[in-house]
């Protein structure tokens, strides 16, 4: 039983926090926020790549540093906390995980080294319109080695050089990987609720692409990849939620009303206690997910969705109550709470809404229950 970071992991996290305090202060975040043409901070991305973070969970054989998944989780927590405006999530939690989990040996060899070094940025293009993505409603076509269709929103779609794309092949949905700088691809920035994380509409018109790995059910493959992304993303959410709670706590200590700090009123104290509880649920669920991810445990099938749900709920509550605790100031552009409010919902939507994940979790709990019953009946 050891349900916490090790001392080494804690040291890595501390170092990451110091690094980000220097490399990604709030001025860097606002630099991206205020300039509609930017989707991330390129200098910051370069410095993060230099740290080797992109390869934290990528095996050395593919150019990574193989620190380990729990270490990557720790970095994600710090990235979330600092609001770092980078395509790290798209490139590492999503693209790299997709290639690692579903790609062929050749594809790993070809694609991962540039991702691990940070030279190349990857993303996943799934959504095509309003609503939950499903096998029945994928319209983008994959045929004769090319993709045709429109994906939006694609997180970091302007910054990325490569994308894994969900498309309908001749035998059903597949995941295909394509070069976004190649022929048949046009893209356009799309404004979102969180300008510190870029997004794009990408139009594929007979764009050359290859199926990831041996093909097979693309929806099932995407689900396996997203279980992994969900855990990593949940640490970003946790980091953000912790930071939002701290901001609220700090403000509640320094802001006075009726002659005493507002943090001495139970309305504020109990509100922030509620946020703390949600953050503890998120922390605990994320840790459990990290264990399942790092050990490839079958529990990932429920731990991934649980981490996602807890992360979405915690960050949303922490972000909105941080604004509320700040009062009028919290509603202004100049104050920082809205950055977390935006980011909380960005992270809460980008690999599917909390509602979508709740359904996924219950489907799996039900399947497990049916399997246990079948086992019992067989016995």
């Amino acid at each position: 039983m050891d349900f916490d970071y090790t001392d080494d992991q804690k040291a890595l996290k501390d170092e990451a926090r110091r690094f980000l305090a220097d490399a990604s202060p709030i001025s860097v975040v606002r630099g991206v926020l205020e300039d509609p043409a930017r989707g991330h901070d390129e200098e910051l991305w370069g410095r993060i790549a230099e740290q080797g973070w992109c390869g934290a969970a990528i095996p050395e054989a593919y150019g990574g540093h193989e620190f380990g998944y729990v270490e990557l989780c720790g970095l994600a927590e710090e990235l979330g906390r600092s609001l770092a405006p980078t395509p790290f999530a798209s490139s590492i939690y999503q693209f790299a995980e997709a290639v690692l989990a579903e790609g062929s040996e050749e594809q790993k060899q070809e694609l991962l080294p540039a991702i691990a070094s940070g030279e190349s940025i990857g993303t996943i293009a799934v959504s095509e319109g309003p609503g939950t993505v499903s096998a029945k409603r994928v319209k983008t076509q994959y045929a004769n080695g090319t993709l045709t269709g429109t994906k939006l929103p694609v997180a970091d779609g302007m910054a990325a050089g490569k994308a894994v794309v969900l498309a309908m092949g001749s035998d059903g949905p597949v995941l295909a990987v394509t070069d976004l700088a190649g022929p048949g691809v046009s893209r356009q920035m799309v404004e979102t609720i969180d300008p510190t994380r870029g997004a794009a509409t990408i139009v594929f018109d007979n764009a050359p692409a290859q199926v990831l790995g041996s093909g097979g059910d693309g929806i099932a493959a995407l689900a396996r990849v997203q279980d992994r992304s969900a855990v990593l993303m949940s640490f970003e959410q946790l980091g953000g939620a912790d930071r939002a709670l701290e901001m609220a706590r700090d403000y509640a200590l320094e802001r006075y009303a009726f002659g005493r700090p507002i943090g001495s009123y139970q309305a504020i104290k109990h509100k922030l206690a509620d946020v703390f509880i949600r953050n503890e649920v998120a922390r605990t669920s994320a840790y459990y997910g990290a264990w399942a991810l790092s050990t490839n445990a079958p529990e990932l099938a429920t731990a991934g969705p649980a981490a996602r749900i807890a992360g979405c709920n915690a960050y949303w509550l922490a972000a909105k109550e941080n604004i509320q605790t700040h009062g009028g100031i919290g509603f202004t552009w100049e104050a920082d709470p809205h950055l977390h409010y935006r980011r909380a919902r960005h992270l809460g939507l980008t690999i599917g809404s909390v509602k979508t994940w709740k359904r996924k979790l219950t489907d799996r709990l039900e399947a497990q229950r049916a399997a246990r019953q079948a086992e019992r009946e067989a016995a």
Binding site: V126, S127, G129, P130, G131, T132, V133, S134, K136, R137, L152, P153, V190, E191, T192, I193, D194, A199, T201, E254, R255, Y256, A257, F258, G259, R260, P261, I262, Y265, A267, I268, W316, K320, I323, Q324, G327, G328, G330, F331, T332, W333, E334, A335, P337, H338, Y341, R345, H346, G348, L349, T350, I351, G352, S353, V354, K355, T356
Partner: protein, 408 residues
């Protein structure tokens, strides 16, 4: 229990409905971006509308005729407002002055100079704003620090105001200052009215998290105001504040914005494997909850109206209605984004459903929970004024203002 107008009310309603249809401002003449509130084009159109109402006898319906009003009843005023809303006329410019500030000034001042300000306001020629809140006095609304010092027949004023809605468009303001810091908090305040172009006064727009700039900061740097612009007694400013707040409560807020039926429309437009989100049991539960709460909010308005039409002072039902509205809107918008799934993060008037109204209100709803008394203050009001529970321990009670701890 009767939801219908009585015969006189019905006659009045029919009359004003016809009049509004004939006289209402034509915003289509404006370029689209100038049809939004807090733009010059919209403001000018509304000023013209106010003048039309004044000429037609529909401005300040409850005021006596000699003051430029129509000598009508409060219920007539409410009916007129309802019909304006139905005709999609939204005027945030004149309501503060005519419903809240000028009535309070006239309650305390009867001098000709104060009275002179009334007719141009009624005719839509002068806009008023409230200069009450300060950086360190939000929920603690008596914690005013802007200092007014008497020099001969003038007052010299230094300080800062904030959250001043429409101050950048206003011609006049009602200002609360501290004139005696050695008195306990509520006892050393004095009110003044002043022109917004008085030397030393500077308005700076505040950009909100949603990107708009309805709110402002107002800086006062050696602003000099003659004593005859004082409202009420020296150190009697708290009474002026209370009078405006009473007027505010009687001014029934216009209902607007997205509601449960918009959520049904959105859900019906989002496909799932089995139909649309409208077929999802869990969404159906949500619709029922939203319907119950938001209809209750609307109906609470009718209960307030009933009290008014019986000549009673409406109770604190308004606080309950405000809480249902502010919390309900934030939850609803968040659910709308979730329904859209990944697509919900797009905020683009060409791509997003309803031109991005759900995303815009998702941001804006934060302010709803804060402005006009935070959620927490509304609950205090309910607990203390309705339920009769004791006020929280007040460490600042009876303490000279300058000795009250104030943090940074």
């Amino acid at each position: 229990m009767n939801f219908d107008d009585n015969p006189e009310e019905a006659t009045y309603r029919a009359r004003v409905r016809a009049w509004i249809a004939q006289n209402k401002p034509d915003l289509t003449a404006l370029p689209p971006e100038q049809r939004l509130v807090w733009t010059e084009g919209h403001k000018n159109a509304m000023a013209q509308w106010q003048a039309t109402k004044a000429a037609g006898g529909y401005a300040c319906i409850t005021w006596p005729k000699e003051r430029g009003g129509a000598g009508g009843t409060l219920i007539e005023d409410v009916i007129f407002s309802q019909e304006e809303t139905a005709a999609e006329i939204h005027d945030p410019y004149f309501i503060t002055g005519l419903k809240m500030l000028i009535p309070a000034i006239l309650q305390f001042n009867s001098d000709p100079k104060s009275a002179e300000r009334v007719p141009p306001a009624v005719r839509g020629e002068e806009i008023w704003c409230q200069l009450f809140s300060e950086p360190s006095s939000g929920s603690d609304s008596a914690g005013i620090r802007t200092l007014a010092v008497k020099q001969g027949d003038e007052w010299v004023i230094n300080g800062q105001k904030v959250w001043n809605s429409g101050a950048a468009h206003a011609d006049y303001g009602l200002l609360i200052t501290r004139t005696d810091p050695d008195q306990p908090k509520h006892k050393g305040l004095t009110a003044f009215w002043l022109k917004m172009d008085t030397p030393g006064l500077e308005v700076r727009p505040i950009k909100t998290m949603g990107g708009d700039s309805e709110l402002n900061e107002v800086f006062l740097d050696d602003v000099r105001i003659p004593d005859d612009q004082r409202v009420g007694e020296i150190n009697g400013g708290w009474s002026v504040v209370l009078a405006t707040l009473m007027n505010e409560r009687a001014a029934i807020g216009q209902s607007n914005g997205l509601t449960w039926s918009d959520m049904m429309d959105l859900a019906s437009s989002i496909e799932t494997d089995d139909g649309t989100v409208m077929d999802d049991d869990s969404f159906r539960d949500l619709v029922a909850d939203l319907h119950v709460d938001l209809e209750a909010r609307r109906l609470i308005g009718f209960r307030i109206l009933t009290a008014i039409s019986r000549g009673e002072q409406p109770g604190p039902e308004g606080s309950a209605a405000k809480l249902l509205w502010s919390g309900g809107t934030q939850t609803m918008m968040s659910e709308a984004l979730d329904m859209l799934d990944q697509y919900g993060l797009i905020q683009d008037s060409n791509l997003s459903p309803r031109a991005g109204a759900f995303q815009q209100r998702f941001l804006w709803s934060c302010g709803l929970r804060i402005g006009g008394g935070t959620d927490e203050i509304q609950k205090n009001i309910i607990a203390e004024r309705v339920l009769g529970l004791p006020a929280d321990v007040r460490v600042d009670k009876g303490v000279p203002f300058r000795e009250i701890p104030s943090g940074r």
